[in-house]
């Protein structure tokens, strides 16, 4: 696709000459590199609460971010007005980071080669509002029908379409049209006059409405939320202390995101502040572990045709048979460390400076039968669902919070336990992985990753994993 067919040319009349002139303005005080990130984001969300469709919101935000890189320094400015004078003003502000004679911008752009990971047959705005409302109503009905003890249900459906254009002073031009949709359901259940318990489920990806008709229905998410709330009604106090932990497949892959993913982002490593700094080639996990960050999986929440610096995303091997292989690189870190970008430069919006981020992070399947893994544990904890996690990349300590887990006693999953945090140390925790299941599963598409105040959608996945030693933060000793 050439610029003239792109959204920004057609809607706002932006030409190659405009882009060249803004980039020249950005490099008018020197600097080696500049880029422009144009963004037009349209969102819709519908919410049901107490069986009443109480909220429906839609909106549009647009703007352009201008970045200048001079050595290790970054200048950044943005405008929510796409008039030439406002963009030039932003470019002049970003230019302040450099001090010297102007850098000449090469003329002419080449369209970047890019993937086609989320072809849209029907853009979100082409579908009716009534169909979206029906999704949340179906979720509400299905959660209540699951069990008479379910007494409160909240469900939301949100979709968005983001049009982006990235133009760089190196002459690279990229366009993308990025759909995103997500359904989320939470349910409360109560047994008689007892205390309520909560369950939550959700999913989606770079898909449109038809995904929720054909692949993962509102009923699927609703029943899962209701099931979790009902399970918790019988939960006993979670155990406390070090024990064997088995993680179920899918979303518990958040372990990888926290334990190793963040610590392998190139900015932290370039600065020497990550527990993984300087450890390429070293054994940081059991030989059973191969960890991938892959932005190229079709329709996944963390996937992108091009990253937010206009580079095609890649399948990057982070850990291979337990040995640390590489970091996640963006433009700035790859320039400074003389590596190639791994297509990992991401930003929350045009108002934000890009940085290295994960896309979809998962572990390759192993050879163990999941049932055999559970059977091999005399006493431990089986974790099926988590709510979130966090890591201190410098010490390497990470936490993730289990919302559905069970005791394992004599090789059998027995009683459900209440929510508990699990804590471990990144470069150490995966060394205790002793069995890897043959059942790799990616999560259903609910992940949001936060870093330095910026949120981006991500995916995770693991097969069933046995970790011989991990600290579980319950209250029962």
């Amino acid at each position: 696709m050439g610029l003239s067919q792109s959204f920004f040319a057609q809607r706002f009349g932006i030409t190659e000459r405009d882009l060249e002139s803004y980039l020249s303005e950005a490099l008018s005080a020197g600097g080696e590199y500049a880029d422009l990130y144009f963004e037009y984001l349209a969102t819709t969300s519908i919410g049901i609460d107490e069986g009443i469709v109480k909220s429906a919101t839609e909106g549009v935000s647009l703007g352009v971010g201008v970045r200048v890189i001079a050595g290790e320094r970054t200048g950044y400015a943005y405008s929510d007005d796409l008039s030439p004078e406002k963009i030039r003003k932003a470019a002049r502000i970003a230019a302040h980071i450099a001090r010297g004679p102007a850098t000449i911008v090469k003329t002419g752009f080449e369209d970047a080669v890019q993937h086609n990971l989320y072809p849209m047959f029907q853009a979100p705005h082409e579908t009716g509002l009534a169909e979206r409302v029906e999704l949340v109503k179906r979720a509400d009905r299905a959660a209540r029908a699951y069990d008479s003890r379910v007494f409160q249900v909240q469900a939301t459906y949100a979709d968005s379409l983001r049009n982006v254009l990235v133009a760089t002073s190196e002459g690279r031009l990229s366009f993308d049209r990025q759909p995103m949709a997500r359904m989320s359901v939470s349910a409360l259940a109560r047994q008689g006059e007892g205390a309520p318990q909560h369950g939550h489920s959700g999913g989606g990806g770079r898909v449109t409405l038809d995904f929720f008709e054909k692949e993962k229905t509102p009923e699927h998410f609703a029943r899962e939320a209701a099931r979790q709330a009902i399970v918790q009604l019988d939960a006993i106090d979670a155990p406390a202390g070090e024990m064997t932990v088995v993680l179920g497949p899918g979303w518990p892959g958040i372990l990888l995101h926290e334990a190793v993913g963040h610590g392998l982002e190139a900015d932290f490593n370039r600065k020497g502040v990550s527990a993984f700094s300087g450890r390429i080639g070293q054994q940081v996990a059991s030989p059973l572990c191969t960890v991938i960050d892959d932005g190229t999986i079709g329709s996944r929440r963390g996937s992108l045709n091009v990253d937010d610096e206009g580079m095609p995303t890649q399948k990057n091997v982070l850990i291979e048979n337990g040995v640390l292989r590489g970091y996640l690189q963006d433009k700035l870190s790859s320039r400074l460390t003389r590596n190639n970008s791994t297509g990992s430069g991401r930003r929350e919006s045009y108002q934000h400076i890009p940085m290295p981020r994960m896309t979809n992070t998962y572990m390759l399947a192993g050879e163990s039968d999941p049932a055999e893994i559970v059977k091999s544990v005399e006493k431990g904890l089986y974790c099926a669902t988590f709510s979130g996690g966090q890591v201190d990349i410098t010490s390497g300590n990470f936490v993730f919070s289990a919302t559905e887990s069970y005791l394992i006693e004599n090789g059998k999953i027995t009683r459900p336990v209440r929510g508990a945090s699990l804590i471990g140390n990144g470069p150490e925790a995966l060394k205790y992985v002793s069995m890897v299941g043959n059942d790799l599963l990616l999560d259903e598409g609910i992940g949001v990753c936060g870093k330095e105040g910026q949120s981006v959608p991500v995916g995770v996945g693991i097969p069933t994993l046995k970790i011989d030693k991990m600290t579980v933060g319950g209250t029962a000793q």
């Binding site: 647009l62 140390n425 600290t471």
Partner: protein, 447 residues
């Protein structure tokens, strides 16, 4: 009326003309600046401004909302049309309404939310502050030889609100802040911590060198941590971590969680739910703080609310919707971004300071933990179960013995607040503020 107030009032009038029974419009504009310094050099400079408008309409008892960053007449017209279209597909909600006109209003005293000096700050001065803070961290100890950097941020903005019950108002806010994150290293142990100062007025910022020195001390005291045995012990929360516990309590008195029975405090109004010493106030009328405002995000006059008094739950925090659902009166706690149904947010939500100093509380502990950082983890608002990763300092015989990390702490908020002692060191570093807290017993999970 200023220009943006007129724009908001016009948007409301346009919605009424299009057939809305009621409408409310929020407009926000902001200017942000950020300078980051690392290893004594400028790392990044960022400067920009943006504006946005949002509208919520009611057509009878059906609501619809929309927003835009395009404040031209066409942009506003599209926004109003979008909200009206959405109001056709939502359900009738018998409780959907705007606040009672008698509750609307803006405080007229000077709330010290805006300091013109922040707009006048020179970029070079801001960079110099960040450099001074980082330099002070390096100078504190030779084990500080790396850093995640220091940053100076400033912000000015305006919030405008108008509704069809006759409310039009706006207020300007400003803030600035300095933070620094040094990295300490010794014998293969590497630890990072941070310290910061932030204020609505430039003159209220703490000295950059003091901030840098404090950040260095915090990173240094974490070096070479031990993992302790699993046990039950008293836990001391310093103000930075105590704030997080208080945030969990805020979630539990949030009217939205109460009417859904999604809080362990639902139905407990008038009951004893905390220690005698526990008094919690929400006061958006205190001048110059981060939770201060002349009116809430649906135009209701700001007022002080006693939430817990001597351990007894006196009030939930409510916007007009949750108040109608519960048959109570709004506490002026409506909070929202630029559009949508309002949620509930804190004003200045704080624990009244107690009598004992933090040192005194620490001296009374035979064997326990001072928590200096909470990581991950969360409280379950429905059940009150709390479990979080933690790092801190082990206390033996009333003195700090050694640093501790890679542990979790867990308990139930209901029992924790019943078993709490309150320190005297209350400071307002954000809209939620707590002094040092001592919880009698929690479970530590370690080796």
């Amino acid at each position: 009326m200023n220009e943006l107030e007129t724009l908001a009032a016009d948007a409301v009038a346009r919605a009424i003309k299009a057939g809305a029974t009621d409408a409310e419009c929020t407009i926000m504009e902001s200017e942000e600046f950020s300078a980051a310094v690392r290893m004594r050099e400028v790392e990044s400079l960022k400067e920009a401004g943006s504006r946005g408008a949002g509208i919520r309409v009611l057509v009878g008892k059906r609501g619809g909302s929309s927003y835009t960053s395009d404040l031209t007449p066409e942009g506003i017209a599209t926004m109003v049309r979008g909200a009206m279209d959405l109001a056709k597909i939502t359900s009738e909600d018998p409780f959907a309404d705007l606040p009672d006109p008698l509750d609307l209003g803006a405080r007229t005293e000077d709330m010290q939310l805006f300091d013109p000096a922040i707009e006048e700050m020179e970029t070079e001065w801001k960079i110099a502050q960040a450099k001074r803070a980082e330099e002070a961290a390096f100078a504190a100890d030779k084990r500080i030889e790396n850093s995640e950097g220091a940053s100076f941020d400033s912000y000015t903005g305006r919030r405008v609100f108008a509704n069809s019950r006759g409310f039009v108002g706006s207020y300007r806010t400003s803030s600035c802040g300095l933070s620094v994150s040094p990295v300490a290293k010794q014998n293969g142990s590497m630890e990072r911590d941070y310290w910061y100062t932030s204020a609505r007025a430039a003159a209220k910022l703490e000295d950059a060198e003091a901030v840098g020195k404090m950040a260095a001390e915090r990173a240094l005291r974490r070096l070479n941590p031990r993992k302790i045995a699993t046990q039950k012990a008293p836990i001391l929360f310093e103000p930075r971590t105590a704030r997080s516990l208080l945030g969990d309590l805020f979630d539990a008195v949030n009217g939205g969680a109460i009417y859904r029975h999604a809080s362990f405090l639902a139905g407990k109004l008038g009951q004893k739910i905390g220690a005698d010493a526990l008094t919690i106030i929400d006061d958006p009328t205190l001048p110059g703080l981060f939770g201060t405002c002349p009116f809430d995000d649906e135009g209701v006059l700001s007022r002080r609310t006693v939430v817990i008094e001597n351990g007894v739950l006196k009030s939930y925090l409510l916007n007009s919707y949750s108040a109608r659902k519960l048959g109570l009166k709004t506490t002026g706690s409506a909070s929202r971004g630029i559009t949508g149904n309002a949620g509930v947010g804190p004003g200045n939500f704080y624990i009244e300071a107690g009598q004992r100093s933090a040192e005194d509380l620490l001296k009374g502990i035979n064997a326990g933990l001072l928590v200096t950082e909470l990581i991950g983890g969360e409280a379950n608002t429905v059940t009150g179960d709390f479990s979080s990763g933690a790092a801190g300092l082990w206390i033996e015989n009333g003195e700090v013995a050694y640093p501790v990390s890679e542990i979790t702490i867990a308990g139930n908020l209901m029992r924790m607040w019943m078993d709490v002692e309150i320190g005297s060191d209350l400071e307002f570093r954000g809209s939620i503020a707590a002094p040092t807290l001592l919880i009698g017993e929690m479970t530590i999970s370690g080796q």
